[in-house]
Each structure stands twice: as structure tokens, then as C-alpha cells.
């Protein structure tokens, strides 16, 4: 199952790209699992994800908690707390 990952703000800057396509193993169940797995794929990912408390996520453009199962997600976004308005 391939998933389109999208990143914003300093998460995007640290990873060095705004999007990438990934194919996580079956052991990855939740968004938090996905973050743990991605952090092991490269030093930039590890740096971007070093503080889980500062990360937020969306599955298929809906905001979700990090313990949400990814299910059949097509697009998962990881980003810092929002600061609009």
C-alpha cells in the first residue's frame, strides 16, 4: 500500500521535501507508528520528528490524533501546530 506523505512548515524544511510516496510495512498501524518508522529512514526525518509533542497530522485532509489508525489512507500530512489567523 503506497501512501502520499505531505509536510508543511519546519517539518517540510527539515525533511527537505514537501511530499514523498512511501510504502510502510504492515507493522505500521497508527500515525505514530508511521512517524516512528519514517524517523528510521533518514537523519532528516529523524530530526524533523524528534519531538512528537510538536507534531500534528491529517489523514486524507482531516485533522487526526497521532494514535489514529492509518487504515486505507491515501494522503497523510505531518506538520507543526497551526498558526494562522
Amino acid at each position: 500500500m503506497t501512501i502520499r506523505m505531505v509536510y508543511f512548515a519546519w517539518v517540510r524544511e527539515r525533511i527537505g521535501t514537501g511530499e514523498e510516496t512511501i510504502d510502510p510495512p504492515a507493522s505500521v498501524v497508527t500515525v505514530a507508528d508511521l512517524i516512528d518508522w519514517l524517523a528510521k529512514t533518514s537523519a532528516p526525518h529523524a530530526e524533523a520528528f524528534e519531538n512528537r509533542a510538536r507534531l500534528r497530522a491529517a489523514i486524507d485532509q482531516d485533522f487526526v490524533a497521532l494514535d489514529t489508525p492509518i487504515g486505507a489512507a491515501q494522503e497523510i500530512a505531518i506538520f507543526p501546530p497551526v498558526t494562522g489567523g
Binding site: 505531505v6 508543511f8 512548515a9 519546519w10 491529517a58 485532509q61 482531516d62 485533522f63 500530512a77 506538520f79 507543526p80 501546530p81 497551526v82 498558526t83 494562522g84 489567523g85
Partner: protein, 145 residues
């Protein structure tokens, strides 16, 4: 009437107020957020999550319409680079009476602050940094729950 816009161009107050007033009701409350001219920021850049942003703003506006009897709920948010004194965001609520308009306006901006995927980066001189989220934004949004 719900109107949502995420735009690169400047926010025109006369145009947006005309939209808010067109509904024919008696009370329009608005909130405008500006790049502060008083704290040394040279450029403010707004990044967002295309597609998800518009959906989130629509949900915020629909939340206001579900709570109060409104003839208009308007959210206009600028993205891209902007400068001190320029408008970042404009929200408006139109209702028959002022109580609903004022409360719905506060709701729109409070929820937008926590529920819409925008990120601000400030540049002061040569230094650039992402703005940190404020805890009291969550407190302000939570009072509507």
C-alpha cells in the same frame, strides 16, 4: 450565505463588507488580523495546506451557521508573503441582531486559529523563524465546545 477565500492577493475591506452587508440583515461583526507594524517583522509568510485549508475553513463557517442564525459567514485568509500593516485574515458574521453577529465573529476567528492549516514564518532582518502556536489559542477555541 457562506463565503470562503484563500488568496495570494490583498484583502479588500470594501468588497468584503459589501458581501457581508448584502444579506439585508441589521448587524455585521468583523475581525481583521494584520501583520503587526510594531514588532520589527519585515516579512510574514503564510504557508498552508491547499485543499485541506478550504475544507477546514468551510467547516468553521458551517459550525457558526449551525450555532447562530446568520445571513452571512465570511472567511478570507491571505497566503504567501506579506508586509507590516497588511491584512492576514478577515472574518465577518451578519445577523438580524448584534448578539449573534458578535458571538459568531469571535467563534469564526477563534476556531480558525486552531482548526485551519496555516503556518506563519516571520523574517526580522536576516533572521527567519516559524511562529510558535500560542496555548491560549486553544483555550479560546475550547470555550465554544
Amino acid at each position: 450565505m457562506i463565503h470562503i477565500s484563500v488568496q495570494q492577493s490583498a484583502i479588500d475591506i470594501a468588497t468584503e463588507m459589501a458581501r457581508a452587508e448584502a444579506a439585508g440583515a441589521g448587524a455585521v461583526a468583523t475581525f481583521t488580523g494584520l501583520v503587526r507594524a510594531d514588532d520589527g517583522v519585515g516579512t510574514l509568510e503564510l504557508e498552508h495546506y491547499p485543499g485541506a485549508t478550504e475544507a477546514a475553513l468551510l467547516k468553521v463557517a458551517e459550525g457558526a451557521v449551525a450555532r447562530w442564525t446568520l445571513s452571512a459567514a465570511i472567511i478570507v485568509h491571505r497566503v504567501g508573503p506579506m508586509h507590516p500593516g497588511e491584512r492576514i485574515v478577515f472574518v465577518a458574521a451578519t445577523a438580524a441582531h448584534r448578539g449573534a453577529a458578535l458571538e459568531a465573529c469571535a467563534y469564526l476567528i477563534d476556531r480558525l486559529k486552531t482548526d485551519a492549516p496555516f503556518w506563519k514564518r516571520e523574517t526580522r532582518g536576516d533572521a527567519s523563524s516559524w511562529v510558535e502556536a500560542r496555548d491560549n489559542d486553544h483555550a479560546a477555541a475550547a470555550r465554544w465546545e
